[in-house]
């Protein structure tokens, strides 16, 4: 009762604030107080030739798909986000574009070169044709398979209608090739090329994607995996088959993609959660295996904002690895919870002939009814035949391995686990000029916010929020500085304890998958509870209200982004740079030029 009264009082105060004093049913107008400053971000978008074409509308007066049983708020009907709509390939006849192909294997050796071209492609999804993007005409992009410790050259050609780049997610590579415009390079303009030399020091599953307007480019198909093979043939347990699963979602109304914001992301509050769920770019995943087959799945969440909970109709599953290493101990799990940008390697045994559904199962919050509702999406089917799998790896699957090499590697970091935090961040948000109905609803509704929101239960409000009105914030507790104004330097070779608190009392608390470029880190504790089974990560999910301790192995010199990997949060400012300075000071190189 006390919380409800406080929320109501807060609502009364908020709606009298000049920034919120708008009439329901009107399009957001310039606020009486200065709006949230557009992020001083390395977006690389402004003034680039690829941004010259758009749909030439000032509003997006189209309906937004609402969840079943959830009405659009009357105060929001007819409004559109305060951005210019943008879709790939405006003015291009989709029929003249090549149909996207599935991902193809690009097996590279040390010293090899790969040409990687971002292009417009035609996609046919659920009977509808869309103009989207692909790498080398493929969605997902080529599966790059390299041996551990290889260095390969990737000549990236930008043939899309936006500036772009390639970020090698999770790879501890030379900072010059990290792919971040205005930090490690300039954005690659349409028609230009940038050459990356990428070294892969760690075995595992990684991925690549643009670091320019991820909310558009990733969502529209620019993503692919890199599998780095250990020379140790016993690195993983033996299996009958390996599969990569890249999870994405697409927001569609009837036969039309919901446009993106040209100047900055829309859906800035929660990120864009699609209503068509895709595995490897397709709405229906299919796999056929013999009875008893053990399959190793390399799972990557490339979606902008969705956190998934995957399982195979009760088929036994164990998790063996994550972003940058194997776990200390393999574990049986009922499902795989995976936040944006994370990877998990899981093994599953299909021991009974028949069909196993690959499902995403979550408990969605219906904010309209104030209730939870089970939501189940079938993403695909694994068909198991009567023929027995040969060899039979049931014994190996039944064994939960202890990876002593991982524990041994971590041992030298354990003395740092209990030290006081070196750095502290608070995650919060600042909003302005949102529609009054949105402000009223959210102020009262945030008496409770789920630690993790798995669906967009309020897409109307979310859609109307753009990066002009929403500024997501990483705040340095020590200085009060925010986002790119934070000036963090640590010495190469240091072990940095970073404590992150996700403030549950902000206007719109939400989980954040926080990603650190170019280093590896351990999640050593959550809410004061030590992690009992460690794994090297590059992305950590920070639920609402949680405090998470990260231990960073700051071994790789350079200027490295630290940001939320919800694409719309990143596009709304939620990023900073961690400078890892080598002995003698910061590295001398500056952002390179596209060629």
């Amino acid at each position: 009762m006390r919380a409800s009264c406080a929320a109501l009082l807060a609502a009364l105060l908020v709606v009298t604030h000049p920034a919120c004093a708008q009439q329901p049913g009107t399009r957001p107008t310039p606020p009486a107080t200065p709006p949230a400053t557009p992020p001083a971000t390395p977006s690389g978008m402004q003034g680039m030739p690829g941004m010259d074409h758009d749909m030439h509308d000032s509003t997006m007066a189209m309906p937004i798909p609402m969840p079943k049983g959830m009405p659009m708020m009357p105060g929001l009907v007819g409004l559109g986000p305060d951005v210019t709509p943008f879709l790939p390939g405006a003015g291009v006849d989709a029929a003249r574009l090549p149909e996207a192909r599935p991902s193809e294997l690009a097996k590279l050796r040390d010293g090899d070169t790969l040409d990687l071209t971002a292009t417009l492609v035609r996609r046919s999804i659920n009977g509808h044709t869309f103009t989207m993007y692909g790498f080398n005409g493929q969605v997902p992009g080529p599966l790059i398979d390299v041996p551990q410790n290889a260095t390969v050259t990737v000549r990236f050609h930008n043939a899309i209608d936006l500036p772009s780049s390639v970020h090698w997610h999770g790879v501890r590579l030379d900072n010059r090739y990290d792919g971040v415009p205005d930090v490690t390079q300039r954005a690659v303009a349409p028609g230009s090329t940038f050459v990356y030399h990428v070294h892969f020091p760690d075995a595992g599953i990684y991925w690549y994607h643009p670091h320019v307007r991820e909310d558009i480019q990733q969502a529209m198909g620019l993503y692919g995996n890199v599998r780095v093979d250990s020379p140790d043939r016993d690195y993983y347990s033996p299996v009958n088959l390996e599969q990569t699963l890249l999870l994405n979602d697409l927001l569609v109304h009837a036969d039309t993609l919901i446009p993106f914001g040209k100047e900055g992301p829309d859906f800035a509050l929660m990120g864009r959660l699609g209503n068509v769920l895709l595995v490897n770019g397709e709405p229906r995943y299919a796999l056929s295996v013999p009875r008893g087959a053990v399959v190793r799945f390399f799972v990557t969440n490339v979606s902008s904002s969705r956190t998934w909970n995957l399982s195979f109709s009760g088929a036994p599953m164990k998790v063996v690895a994550s972003d940058v290493s194997r776990f200390e101990h393999e574990e049986r799990v009922p499902s795989v919870l995976i936040a944006p940008a994370e990877r998990y390697v899981v093994e599953t045994r299909f021991d009974t002939p028949g069909r196993y559904a690959l499902v995403n199962a979550v408990q969605a919050v219906n904010h309209y009814k104030g209730e939870f509702e089970a939501e189940l999406d079938t993403l695909g089917i694994v068909t198991v035949s009567d023929t027995p799998a040969v060899p039979d790896y049931a014994g190996a699957f039944a064994t939960l391995r202890h990876n002593a090499a991982v524990s041994h590697d971590i041992d030298r970091f354990r003395p740092y686990f209990d030290k006081p935090p070196d750095k502290r961040l608070t995650l919060t948000v600042r909003v302005s000029a949102l529609p009054l109905a949105t402000v009223q609803f959210m102020t009262i509704d945030t008496a409770y916010f789920a630690p993790v929101e798995y669906v967009d239960a309020m897409p109307d409000m979310n859609w109307l929020s753009s990066s002009k009105q929403v500024r997501w914030i990483l705040r340095d507790d020590a200085t009060g500085r925010e986002n790119m104004d934070i000036d963090w330097h640590v010495a190469q070779g240091s072990v940095v304890k970073l404590r992150i608190f996700n403030d549950p009392k902000s206007f719109h608390p939400m989980q954040h998958p926080i990603h650190l470029h170019g280093q590896r880190m351990l999640v050593i504790a959550r809410d004061g509870v030590p992690t009992r089974n460690l794994v090297w990560k590059d992305t950590a999910l920070i639920p609402v209200g949680s405090t998470v301790d990260l231990l960073i192995d700051a071994s790789n010199p350079g200027a490295w982004m630290l940001h939320c990997h919800i694409a719309e949060h990143l596009g709304s400012g939620m990023m900073t740079v961690l400078h890892v300075d080598p002995p003698g000071g910061a590295p001398a190189h500056s952002p390179g030029s596209a060629r």
Partner: protein
């Protein structure tokens, strides 16, 4: 005599520290999506308590069931619980996670004064009930409730009749 004085100070300090979480919770209303204020009943009017939901250990950081329910360890801090025997033929206190319609009672584990971590709760919304019991093995409560509270998810409000939605039919 000095020793006795030191003991009193130590007891006062211990009491102060024990009450700090209550003070913090009282000052902020509800502290966050993991905190439950426990309220005493007439059976034990001096009892105080609060609980904190902590994600059960999981390789994913956040523990979920296959159908998506969050799984929490429940940390209960209680003070001034009387001896169970003062309430009748009871020997212990037990914590329960109870569905809001009171049809499902899931025994979490025994509770004492101080902080106790009891078993997993995986209901979307639940009541947290602490009752006096004859033993710790019962499948349903058999004694008086001494403390109770509501999971933070219970604060979710229905907006169906709110003016924001008035006149809107599904």
């Amino acid at each position: 005599m000095r020793l006795a004085g030191a003991g009193r100070r130590a007891r006062r300090l211990a009491m102060l520290f024990a009450l700090l979480p209550f003070v913090a919770l009282s000052a902020t209303g509800a502290a966050g999506p993991y905190d439950i204020m426990l309220h005493p009943t007439a059976a034990a009017p001096a009892a105080e308590g609060h609980a904190r939901l902590v994600f059960a250990p999981s390789p994913f950081g956040v523990a979920l069931t296959a159908d998506g329910h969050a799984v929490y360890d429940v940390q209960i801090t209680a003070a001034h619980l009387p001896k169970p025997s003062t309430l009748g033929a009871f020997t212990t206190y037990v914590a329960w996670a109870v569905s809001p319609d009171l049809t499902k009672w899931h025994r979490l584990g025994p509770v004492t004064n101080g902080t106790t971590t009891v078993g997993h709760a995986d209901l979307n919304k639940f009541l947290l009930v602490i009752s006096a019991e004859p033993d710790t093995s019962g499948a349903a409560t058999r004694g008086p409730t001494v403390l109770h509270g509501t999971s933070p998810s219970g604060w979710l409000q229905s907006f169906i009749t709110h003016p924001l939605f008035r006149g809107v039919s599904q």
